[in-house]
């Protein structure tokens, strides 16, 4: 991370390492700084050109293959790309991704904070949760949640072996959709817990000390100081996990939940006996959603990076000023004849 700005005047003024007898002549117009920038010719890079030719040939071959291969049936792809069932499938897939990631993040944050707790019971519960849900394949977990209403038909609140205070049937609440969300979310939470834990640990211990010295309680320190700074470390892998989740939702037929994108395209493909064009339809949609998610991740990273990287200020209207420029403008460096503070 260079601390100097891109348009630092010092950059171009390094003396050239030439040993010609000729004295360097003023080849260009002198700038206001009174020096002449070096007129440099780039070093030859033949590798760039060779690789460009090879890649261009391969790309042309690929395009030719995609256009001429009759098995791909682009006409079918076009017909079904915006089919009602497919678009609805996209909606359900997005909803599954979103809800299970929200559930997973909430569970993971809780588990990560419990893991750091001084209370050994909470630490143990968190460890056991991560052990179980990270250790069982997500497909198996989804089948389990699909069968949950069979395994646990009724949930009863009451005294164990004693009177029953209140009860409800799980079948009324746990639809296939919610079983899929819970299954995906709890599995994801176990992975995210470790990511969030390492993010929380990445925050300098001095931050906690400074907060304690101001009289803040542990909850306030976590919520206001530690978590916002940890997010900077957590968001990139969280984005990764979200994209992973988008694709994991294709497993929800294990529940079985049968409205998501993969199930929709498979259903059409089975009816038409043309699996390949509908695989392309599904692939295009997953790619499109991933692109949108990547844009979202970019903005999240910028938001939580505020204050850490002065080149991308979170507030508009300040432009991309470098840290060094900011320090210089502070006027406390010795070169500045006018210190801004008269104390």
């Amino acid at each position: 991370m260079g601390q100097r700005g891109r348009n630092d005047p010092d950059r171009g003024s390094e003396p050239p390492a030439v040993t010609t007898t000729q004295t360097p002549s003023p080849a260009g117009p002198a700038t206001e700084g009174g020096f002449t920038p070096i007129r440099a010719k780039a070093a030859p890079r033949p590798g760039t050109w060779i690789s460009a030719v090879i890649v261009a040939l391969l790309a042309a071959g690929l395009v030719g293959f995609l256009v001429t291969n009759p098995v791909l049936e682009w006409g079918t792809v076009a017909t079904y790309l915006f089919d009602v069932k497919v678009v609805q499938g996209v909606g359900w897939t997005l909803l599954l991704t979103l809800l299970s990631m929200v559930l997973g993040t909430v569970v993971a944050l809780t588990a990560a904070i419990m893991r750091r707790s001084e209370n050994p019971v909470l630490r143990g519960v968190s460890w056991a949760y991560i052990f179980v849900f990270r250790g069982i394949p997500v497909y198996t977990q989804l089948v389990f949640w699909g069968l949950f209403t069979v395994i646990v038909p009724k949930i009863v609140v009451g005294v164990p072996f004693g009177p029953e205070l209140w009860s409800f049937s799980t079948r009324d609440l746990l639809t296939a959709f919610w079983a899929a969300v819970i299954g995906l979310g709890l599995n994801e939470g176990a992975y995210l817990a470790e990511i969030i834990r390492s993010g929380l640990n990445s925050v300098d211990k001095g931050q906690t000390e400074a907060s304690k010295a101001l009289g803040m309680g542990n909850g306030t320190i976590l919520r206001r100081i530690i978590v916002p700074q940890a997010m900077r470390v957590i968001v990139p892998p969280l984005g990764n996990e979200t994209i992973g989740m988008l694709k994991t939702t294709s497993l929800v037929l294990a529940v079985p939940f049968t409205l998501d994108l993969t199930f929709a395209t498979n259903g059409i493909a089975n009816k038409l006996f043309t699996p390949i064009p509908l695989l392309i339809v599904a692939a295009l949609w997953y790619l499109a959603i991933t692109s949108v998610l990547m844009v979202g991740q970019h903005y999240l990273e910028r938001y939580f990076g505020r204050g850490f990287d002065a080149r991308t200020p979170a507030r508009p209207g300040r432009g991309g000023r470098s840290r060094q420029a900011a320090v210089n403008s502070a006027g406390t460096t010795p070169q500045d004849p006018l210190p801004e503070v008269e104390l």
Partner: protein, 262 residues
């Protein structure tokens, strides 16, 4: 010290020991700081100055001995239990005791995700429950007071070390502390930025703030300290006025230390 002798005692450190495993860092320290007094702790690195300072606001728990602020035992109930043990306070009670003591760190420890203004507002809003508008007004006044009124909307990464440390002082002052602790406030600064921070410290001392300052700035000690405390190997070897301690050292250790820093 003379002009303050009738003032009430604010900090009373009694026989404090601190061990980290086998390491005996503090070996029975006693210190009395009266209201409005500036005590400067000096000594070679590793002598226990910072640990003693951190015991005063419970960032470290003394292994033996006790610390009283305004006569109130820190970290424990005032009276021992019938079996002779001391009942520790709950975290919220400890936080309340700490909130009356301001602390400034060597490495600033500003909150990097918050602007200078938000750094100063954070504790009054979150701990004292001050309305945001009132907290902002107060924070702007404090930033003005440390000469950074025009830097309120900058993030710490956009400020020089001296400016960051002055924001840290404003942040501590925002809690209206009864006393301030400074842990080597200028040691992480470039030499030309030291004076801007020391000026703020001198102003605070002149306004009558009770202060304990760990520093290597002997000039500052001579100018501002009511009490200079020399520590070596976990013990307080000499204490008294700057004239007594800096100009007329008695122990060989202090003479050696002064020769190396002056």
């Amino acid at each position: 010290m003379s002009q303050n002798d009738e003032n009430p005692v604010v900090i009373q450190v009694e026989g404090v020991h601190k061990t980290f495993g086998d390491l005996h860092v503090l070996k029975g320290c006693d210190l009395t700081v009266r209201s409005g007094e500036v005590a400067v702790l000096v000594g070679p690195s590793g002598s226990g100055k910072s640990t003693l300072l951190r015991c005063i606001n419970q960032l470290e728990e003394p292994t033996a001995g006790r610390v009283l602020i305004d006569g109130v035992v820190q970290g424990y109930r005032a009276e021992p239990l019938p079996d002779g043990r001391w009942q520790k306070l709950r975290p919220a009670e400890i936080a309340a005791q700490r909130s009356r003591i301001g602390m400034v760190f060597q490495r600033f420890h500003l909150f990097p995700h918050l602007t200078a203004l938000a750094n100063v507002m954070e504790a009054p809003v979150q701990v004292r429950g001050l309305p945001r508008a009132a907290a902002e007004k107060k924070a702007r006044q404090l930033l003005e007071r440390v000469g950074l009124g025009d830097r309120a909307d900058h993030y710490p990464s956009e400020l020089s070390g001296g400016q960051q440390q002055r924001v840290a002082i404003a942040r501590a002052l925002a809690m209206d502390p009864e006393l301030m602790l400074f842990d080597e406030p200028t040691s992480a600064l470039d030499p030309e930025l030291v004076s801007e921070v020391l000026t703020v410290l001198k102003d605070l001392a002149a306004e009558g703030m009770t202060m304990v300052v760990v520093t290597h700035e002997m000039g500052f000690a001579r100018e501002v300290a009511d009490q200079v405390v020399f520590m070596d190997e976990g013990r307080i070897l000499e204490s008294g006025t700057a004239e007594q301690v800096i100009d007329a050292p008695r122990s060989e250790r202090l003479k050696g230390f002064l020769a190396s820093v002056l």
